[in-house]
C-alpha cells in the first residue's frame, strides 16, 4: 500500500516536470501553428545554464544568485534566446509548409547539440540540491524527498498562474483569440508578430524552467533534449494542441502510468523476458492510442479551423519525361559497371547511397502521392533492420530469410501505426508518426534482453561479398523504385492522389480514403523496411539509432532536397544528401552544427519548399 502511495507521489512530481515542458510547446503551437522541435533543446539549455549559474563557475555554495535565482535567471536567458530564434528564423517561415517548419526547428536542435557539447562537454554534470529541501518526508513508513513534494506543488501552481494569465489579462484573451483564428485577430488591429514573439518567450521560459528544476533530480546531459521532446509531443497530442489544461491532464495521466508501470514485475513469454517496468514510453503510447481513437484532437483539443486562407500548392506527380527515363537507364547501366572501376571505399559509399535511395523513395511515396508527411519514417527503417538482425541472432536465419523478415516486421509496424495515423492529417499526422518512431526507438533501446539495448545486435553479416552485396542493393533499389512507380500510376495510385487532393471529393466518388491511405502507409513501411534490412547486413550490426529522429530527418532531407513532386526527386536527393553527409562527417567534428545551419539556410532560402520553388519556375513552361 505504501509503495503505491509513494509511486503515486512520484507520478505527480514527474507530471509537473513534463507539464512545464509540454504546456509551453502546446501554447506555442496553438498560436503560431509551429511544431517546435527545438523545445527540448530549450529545456536542455535551461538545465545547463542553471547548472552554470548555480554551480558551474566554481562558487562556494550556490553562487551569487542562489539556487532559485540561478534557475529563474537561466530560464529568462533561455527565453530571450528563444525570442531571438523566433525573430530571425521562425518569423520568416510562418507561412511555409509545416514540414519545413519542423525541419527548421530540427536544424536548431542540431546546432544547440553541438554548441552545448562545445560549451559544457560530453560528461554528465551533477547539479546542486535545493537549499532547505534536502530532507525527506515520512510517507507511511517510506521516505519521500522534500524536493519532489515541492515539484508536486509547482505543477498546479504554474497551471493556476497560467490560467490567470490567459483568463485575466488582455494578453491572455488575445492569445486565446489568436489560437482560434489568427487572421481575424489581425483584422481587429492586433499585431500578430508581437503576440507570437511574446508567446514564444513564455513557452521557451517554461521549458527552460522545467529543465532547471530537474537539476536536483538528475544529471544534466546532452540527451535531455530528445528524451523530453518525445514525451512532450505525446502529452501535447493527448492533451490537445494549444490546450494548457489538456497538457496538465495528459501529463498527469502519462506520468502516473509510467510511475505505476515501474511496479509491474518482469514476466516471460515464450522464453523472452518482458520487462514492462523498463519500457517507459509504452504507457504513453497506449494512452495516446486510446485518446486518438476516442478524441482525434486530444482530450481538450479542438479541430483546427481557419488555418490558412491561401490555397496550398499541393505537390503533383508528373509523368517521367523520356529524357529522364533514358537518364535512369544510363545511370543503372553505369552502376552495373561501377565495381569494375571503384575501389572498396567507393563501392561501400555507393551501396549505402543505393540503400537510402530505396528509403527516400518509400518516404516520397507516402508524402508525394500519399500526401502524408511523416516525421518518423526511421521507425520502419529500424523495424526492417531489427527484423533482419533479430531473425539472424535468435533464429539463425540466413540472409535471404532476414531480408524477408525485415520488411515483414516493418509492414506490420506500418499497418499498426498507420491505422492510427490515417485518422489524422497534416501536422497532427506528422507528430503522431514521430511519436510512433520514438516508441520503436525506445523498445529497441529499452528491451535489452531481446535487442541488446544500446549495444545493439552485432554480427549480422551478409552471406555474399562486397561486390555481390552492391549488386543486391542495386537490385533492391531499382526494383523497389520501379514497383513504387508502378503503384503511383496504377488505379490505386490515382485513388491515393484523389484522396490527397480532396478527401471529400474522393469520398464522394466512392474511394475509401482512410483505407487507401492505410494501404499506402503499409506499402511505404515495407519498402523502408527493405532498406533497413539491407542496411543491417551492410553494417553488420543494428543499433537503436537506426530508428531515431535523426534518421527520419535524413530521409526527409533527401525527399525535400530532390523535391516532392517528381519520382526522380528523392533519388537525386538521396545521392546528393548522402554524399554531402559523408563528406561532412569526414571533415569536421561539428558536423551537426554545419548540418543544422545548412538545414536552416535551406528552409530560409526556399520557404515554400524546393518543390514549391521548382513548381513556380516550371509553371511558366506549362503555360497553365
Amino acid at each position: 500500500m505504501s509503495a503505491l502511495v509513494v509511486q503515486f507521489l512520484n507520478g505527480l512530481a514527474s507530471a509537473s516536470a513534463l507539464f512545464l515542458v509540454a504546456c509551453g510547446l502546446s501554447i506555442i503551437f496553438g498560436v503560431s501553428r509551429i511544431v517546435n522541435f527545438a523545445h527540448g533543446s530549450f529545456y536542455m539549455l535551461g538545465a545547463y545554464l542553471a547548472w552554470t549559474l548555480t554551480r558551474g563557475l566554481g562558487w562556494v555554495g550556490y553562487g551569487p544568485l542562489g539556487f532559485w535565482g540561478g534557475i529563474l535567471i537561466a530560464a529568462l536567458i533561455v527565453g530571450l534566446i528563444g525570442v531571438l530564434i523566433e525573430l530571425v528564423l521562425l518569423r520568416r517561415i510562418y507561412q511555409a509548409p509545416e514540414l519545413f517548419q519542423l525541419l527548421a526547428t530540427f536544424g536548431v536542435v542540431l546546432v544547440v547539440q553541438d554548441l552545448a557539447m562545445a560549451i559544457w562537454g560530453a560528461q554528465d554534470l551533477l547539479g546542486p540540491r535545493a537549499p532547505g529541501l534536502r530532507g525527506a518526508f515520512d510517507v507511511m513508513g517510506q521516505r519521500f524527498p522534500e524536493y519532489e513534494m515541492l515539484l508536486i506543488l509547482i505543477g498546479p501552481i504554474v497551471l493556476g498562474l497560467l490560467w490567470l494569465l490567459f483568463n485575466r489579462t488582455r494578453w491572455g484573451t488575445l492569445v486565446r483569440a489568436a489560437t482560434a483564428d489568427r487572421e481575424m485577430v489581425a483584422a481587429l488591429g492586433v499585431d500578430q508578430r508581437k503576440l507570437f514573439t511574446s508567446v514564444f518567450f513564455v513557452g521557451t521560459f517554461l521549458a527552460a524552467l522545467g529543465g532547471g528544476l530537474q537539476l536536483p533530480r538528475e544529471p544534466v546531459q546532452l540527451h535531455m533534449d530528445m528524451a523530453i521532446i518525445a514525451d512532450a509531443f505525446v502529452v501535447v497530442v493527448v492533451g490537445g494542441m494549444g490546450s494548457v489544461g489538456g497538457a496538465y491532464l495528459a501529463a498527469l495521466l502519462i506520468a502516473q502510468l509510467q510511475a505505476f508501470m515501474l511496479l509491474v514485475p518482469d514476466f516471460e513469454i515464450a522464453g523472452l523476458t518482458i520487462s514492462i517496468a523498463r519500457m517507459t514510453l509504452i504507457p504513453s503510447f497506449l494512452v495516446m492510442a486510446v485518446v486518438l481513437i476516442l478524441r482525434p484532437y486530444g482530450l481538450l483539443g479542438k479541430a483546427p479551423s481557419h488555418a490558412r486562407t491561401q490555397a496550398s500548392v499541393e505537390p503533383v506527380v508528373r509523368a517521367t519525361p523520356p529524357i529522364l527515363a533514358k537518364l535512369g537507364f544510363a545511370s543503372v547501366a553505369a552502376m552495373i559497371l561501377l565495381p569494375l572501376i571503384a575501389d572498396e571505399y567507393g563501392l561501400m559509399v555507393a551501396t549505402e547511397i543505393l540503400i537510402f535511395v530505396l528509403m527516400a523513395a518509400s518516404l516520397h511515396f507516402m508524402m508525394g502521392p500519399g500526401g502524408m508527411a511523416s516525421f518518423g519514417h526511421a521507425a520502419y527503417f529500424g523495424l526492417g533492420a531489427y527484423g533482419a538482425a533479430l531473425a539472424a541472432k535468435h533464429f539463425n536465419a540466413p540472409m535471404e530469410a532476414g531480408l524477408v523478415a525485415g520488411p515483414v516486421l516493418a509492414a506490420l509496424g506500418g499497418i499498426l501505426f498507420g491505422w492510427f495515423c490515417v485518422r489524422l492529417s497534416g501536422v497532427y499526422l506528422a507528430m503522431l508518426t514521430l511519436a510512433f518512431a520514438q516508441i520503436v526507438w525506445s523498445i529497441a533501446f529499452q528491451w535489452v534482453a531481446v535487442t541488446g539495448g544500446d549495444n545493439g545486435v552485432l554480427g549480422v553479416w551478409p552471406s555474399i561479398g562486397k561486390t555481390g552485396f552492391f549488386y543486391l542493393s542495386l537490385a533492391f533499389a531499382v526494383i523497389g523504385v520501379l514497383l513504387l512507380r508502378r503503384a503511383i500510376y496504377s488505379p490505386f495510385g490515382y485513388a491515393l492522389r484523389g484522396a490527397r487532393d480532396s478527401a471529400l471529393r474522393a469520398d464522394a466518388i466512392g474511394i475509401d480514403v482512410k483505407r487507401v491511405q492505410w494501404a499506402a502507409f503499409a506499402i511505404a513501411a515495407s519498402f523502408a523496411g527493405s532498406a533497413g534490412a539491407l542496411f543491417a547486413y551492410f553494417k553488420g550490426s543494428v543499433f537503436p539509432t537506426y530508428a531515431a529522429i535523426p534518421k527520419s530527418v535524413d530521409a526527409l532531407m533527401m525527399v525535400l532536397l530532390g523535391g516532392v513532386q517528381t519520382i526522380s526527386g528523392p533519388l537525386v536527393g538521396a545521392i546528393v544528401y548522402m554524399g554531402l553527409h559523408e563528406q561532412l562527417v569526414r571533415v569536421t567534428e561539428l558536423w551537426r552544427l554545419v548540418l543544422g545551419i545548412a538545414i536552416i539556410a535551406l528552409v530560409l532560402a526556399f520557404p515554400q519548399g524546393i518543390a514549391g520553388f521548382a513548381a513556380k519556375r516550371f509553371a511558366k513552361e506549362d503555360g497553365a
Binding site: T173, L174, A180, D181, A186, L188, G189, V190, H306, Q310
Partner: protein, 233 residues
C-alpha cells in the same frame, strides 16, 4: 475616405478580381451587390489586406494601404466584419469585445461596451456567455460590436443579412442606419437587394470579379434590366 483603383486579386493562379474600382465618401453607405461567388468577399478581404492585392491602388484617408499588413490597416481606423461571423467561440461576449478594443480616434465615434449594449441590447444580457453558444443573429451583432470597439472611421461589412431571420434583418438595417447617423462610413456587400435598398446610398454591382454597374440606389431601383441581368431578383 476609401478609394480602390484597378484592383486585381488572385487565388493561386485563379484570377478572381479584375480591375475593380470603387470609392466611398465620408459618412456614406455604399453597397457592393453581386451573386454568390461574384467576388464581393474577395474585394473586401483585399482592401483589408487579408488577401494580397496583385495590382492596383487602395487608398484610405489619402494613404496607400495596399500591401500593408491587416493589423496596420485596422489600426488606421478601418474595421472589418467578416461574412462567416467568426466570433471567438471560446471567449465570452465581453472578451470578444476586448479583442477588438483600440484607443479613441479623432473624428470617429468612441465606443465602450456600455454604449454598444444600447445599440445591441441582446448582447447586454449575455455578457459572460461564450461566443460559441449564441444564435446566428446574436453572433452577427457581436462581430459588428467587436469591430466597433476599435473606434473605426469606416467599416467593411460582408453580407450582414446573410442567414438571418427577417425580423433580425430589419433590426440589422436599423442598426446600420444608426451607425451612419454617428458619421461612420460603411462599405457593405450584399446579395439581398431589399436589404441594400433599406440602407445604402449608392451601389456597385460586381459579376465574375468585374464591376458592371455603379449608380445611386434610386437609379438602380428604377433600372429593372440591370437588376434582372446581374442580380437574382
Amino acid at each position: 475616405m476609401l478609394r480602390v483603383d484597378g484592383l486585381h486579386t488572385y487565388y493561386g493562379r485563379a484570377h478572381i478580381l479584375a480591375d475593380v474600382s470603387l470609392d466611398a465618401a465620408k459618412g456614406e453607405i455604399v453597397v457592393l451587390l453581386g451573386r454568390n461567388g461574384a467576388g464581393k468577399s474577395t474585394t473586401l478581404k483585399s482592401i483589408m489586406g487579408l488577401v494580397p492585392a496583385a495590382q492596383g491602388s487602395i487608398r484610405f484617408l489619402d494613404r496607400e494601404i495596399a500591401g500593408l499588413p491587416s493589423h496596420e490597416i485596422a489600426r488606421m481606423g478601418l474595421g472589418y466584419v467578416p461574412e462567416d461571423r467568426r466570433v471567438f467561440a471560446e471567449l465570452t461576449v465581453m472578451e470578444n469585445l476586448d479583442v477588438g478594443r483600440q484607443g479613441p480616434r479623432d473624428a470617429a465615434p468612441a465606443w465602450t461596451p456600455e454604449k454598444l449594449f444600447e445599440i445591441f441590447p441582446n448582447l447586454a444580457e449575455m455578457r459572460n456567455r461564450p461566443g460559441g453558444r449564441m444564435s446566428g443573429g446574436e453572433q452577427q451583432m457581436l462581430t459588428i460590436a467587436r469591430t466597433l470597439m476599435g473606434n473605426p472611421r469606416a467599416i467593411l461589412l460582408d453580407e450582414p443579412s446573410e442567414g438571418l431571420a427577417p425580423v433580425i434583418v430589419e433590426q440589422m438595417a436599423r442598426t446600420i442606419q444608426a451607425l451612419k447617423a454617428q458619421g461612420l462610413t460603411i462599405v457593405l456587400s450584399e446579395q439581398n437587394l431589399h436589404f441594400a435598398l433599406l440602407v445604402a446610398d449608392r451601389a456597385y454591382i460586381i459579376e465574375k470579379g468585374r464591376i458592371r454597374y455603379s449608380g445611386t440606389m434610386a437609379a438602380l431601383a428604377a433600372d429593372e434590366a440591370i437588376r434582372l441581368q446581374y442580380l437574382s431578383v
